[in-house]
Symmetry: C2
Subunit: 499 residues, 2 copies
Amino acid sequence: MPYYLKIKKLDIKTGQSNIVLLNREEARRYGIKAGDKVKITWPDHSVIAEANTSQKRVKLGQIGFYKDIWEKMKISPNTIAEIEFIERAKSIKAIKKRLLGKKLNYEDFYQIFSDIAKGILTRTETTYFVASSFIRDYDDQELYFMTKAMAETGEMLKFPHKMVVDKHSVGGLAGNRTTMIVIPIIAALGLVIPKNSSRAITSPAGTSDTMEVLAPVSFSAKEIKKIVKKVGGCLVWGGGLNLAPADDKILKVSYPLSMEPYDKMLVSIMAKKVASGVTHLVIDMPVGETTKIPNMKIAKELERKFKYIARKFNIKIKVIMIQTEDPIGMGVGPALEARDVLRVLQQKDNYPADLANKAIHLAGELLELAGKAKKGQGAAIAWKTLESGAAWKKMQEILKAQGGKYDIDPNDIVLAAHKKYYNAPKSGRIIFTDNKGINTIARILGAPADQLAGIYLNKEFDDHVKKGERLFTLYARTKERIKLADKGLEKINIFKIGK
Amino acid sequence: MPYYLKIKKLDIKTGQSNIVLLNREEARRYGIKAGDKVKITWPDHSVIAEANTSQKRVKLGQIGFYKDIWEKMKISPNTIAEIEFIERAKSIKAIKKRLLGKKLNYEDFYQIFSDIAKGILTRTETTYFVASSFIRDYDDQELYFMTKAMAETGEMLKFPHKMVVDKHSVGGLAGNRTTMIVIPIIAALGLVIPKNSSRAITSPAGTSDTMEVLAPVSFSAKEIKKIVKKVGGCLVWGGGLNLAPADDKILKVSYPLSMEPYDKMLVSIMAKKVASGVTHLVIDMPVGETTKIPNMKIAKELERKFKYIARKFNIKIKVIMIQTEDPIGMGVGPALEARDVLRVLQQKDNYPADLANKAIHLAGELLELAGKAKKGQGAAIAWKTLESGAAWKKMQEILKAQGGKYDIDPNDIVLAAHKKYYNAPKSGRIIFTDNKGINTIARILGAPADQLAGIYLNKEFDDHVKKGERLFTLYARTKERIKLADKGLEKINIFKIGK
């Protein structure tokens, strides 16, 4: 059903040839919404354009033409144009399609993610998309289309190197800072590993939070390429890079339900790898009741899907599933974890062996996957690279390239001003470590917002302790926070001591 | 997992004993959201409360206690309380439940609608609820629970009368203003009929818009009861009454998809009837391709559901399904429709017979349903009431009670200043009337925002016309609007003339 509006010339150039502006109220009356396609016809002319809406720039009864359109065409004053609605924003159509139970194709996902990324879809409309995931599970092909579309609707980092390797931890385990050790080992051996990480969302520290204790982590794509060209690797924050930008907006509307479907997690990880140009990828997926992946059955099915998607993008992948709930390393909180990392890289006497071992294991797997080590020999090569100081040397290069402190001793790392020791109430063996409880206490102490706050675990799982021996240490910026954690520790038993 | 915050006394009383205030950022960190239940424990005390959040009123590390709580209990300065998350806002749990494909019970719907009405659920969360409707159709029992819960989470109008009758049009037909004739007929016969109507959303006039040409329509529940006590009926706007308030908010998030499932329409109509205390109800459901209900199959299934729900609430119901696409009455637009109504009520020579006939039919059915007429005799009684002037006399009482003009001649109704006639291009019989086209042109002319604008149909379906004879008349506030409609009429053929 056509309708009619008077053309108003707007003195603005948008750089796009196909956008017109409707009065919001008028658009509402006719059921047109931003993003809908309309056909506009006036004497001797016709254009197809996307409708945008505005409350003030055009009045009721008007249609705004940007300079991009009216400069090219003669439009007499008071020209009345016929407006014909052609189609609903494609992404709305696609979302409806899935709500009605139908399968989506690549174009559907592309439209949806593109409109989410550009802000054409509102929060409400984005929510309908997320909700449509519950209608039924995505099949493999849909997961592939989603991954591809999510990557391609954002920036694509392209490195000039044939091989770009990466390592990704699914997360959920306290103090799992292997990334900052794996990257310098791998880069020291000549592979290109431009690592971008996230900040903590629900945990007490993300890799970016920890790296930021030592060096800046926010860089543009161009700066990252320069750093990587120079030193072969980096440890930067991915959040500023516009990689798979729809993902963040989808995450925001998913938050109120506190349900992140595994499929969504998979797509969001893989889309970012595709956008980062990764060719070889090791996924570290801790499995355990208190981590993100509760059991091996779910882990195995996720592994299958990871492999399927990776194959579609010619990414060589290895998924490492280790059943554990024991925190890795001794420190929990950005500064404390950075100290652990430095102790490992500098091979100090008091370095946390579990952190070093896990990093070596992951680095070894990645070396084998990338053909830099024969089967079964990757870990040995990684170990030698760490022991010889080559990894620390490489880390210093990375720190320098990112503008950070590159000659720092782990003992010089500043920790929060207020400290409190907790000692063993009895002698025995540590038979259980409460991973979730440790995260909770670390957050109560102020991490990650307070970079210097957190917990240092003086003991770990299976250790024998004597009554009165130091178990762990709290660090916080204020006495208040220590008190709050004290209260918490009346209920939370970080270490269970048995016989 | 408990955590710990310092109690801050807030100098505010909420009137509710169980609300505490958390810092928004702190709440986010611990995954608590507004509406979640928390248990708060401090020396010798414990309360269970609902968490609200604020960005500024309480700082990180604090929990705000309103006066309602701390006045009753001794709280020493600097008291630290333990906060334990008990359960996610019940409505979120219910929404998740339905997203996962499970059936909802009455309590679930009550929580959802109550939280939507109170604004505890955000727009995003409300969207998840609406989206969950697509997981699978609601069964009859769920429809009943929904209706009951939607009614009971808003104001319930209670009239002291044993019998409260009503008439409802599902809508979609141009100029269908029978309500303003049915109500005075019924009230003149001594039945209580407190009618509340909506304003136009997508049509050129709703009953409230049309009634407002003659009298004020916005009243409080108390005022309505007074009016009804005095004159036995009213014609008021329901939007200000807080009846089934969740409905409006749900409608808002449904809008972007432009899909209103029939089930939702049914629940929203019936919930408002339940909230209005209706005991006898006639539903006017025009069926036709260009109305809301496209065919008889859908109409019959809806009738079945209407009857099921009505029975559950002891409402006597009759659903009248008439297959038609012909507009009722001659005027389209608030003032023009008000003029039609007055012509019928005052039995002027030029009154639109189809409007009178349909009103008499509906009034007759309602009289029979309410036991005021024997089977088959309702229409005759209604007709007599109209013809004798009793209906107009009752309408005058209603207009007076609502503070309107009660001695107005239909010809004194002011119409928009700019007028244009359209004449028949050839002789013949009118073989098609474009109902949707008429609505579009009336809206182009400015209705319903411009109350005085619209179309007057000088002819109707099946009339014989001579070439040059007047077909219809346009009314608009500005010449501009007439021009826009002119343009529209180059494409839209309101009347098709055959042989």
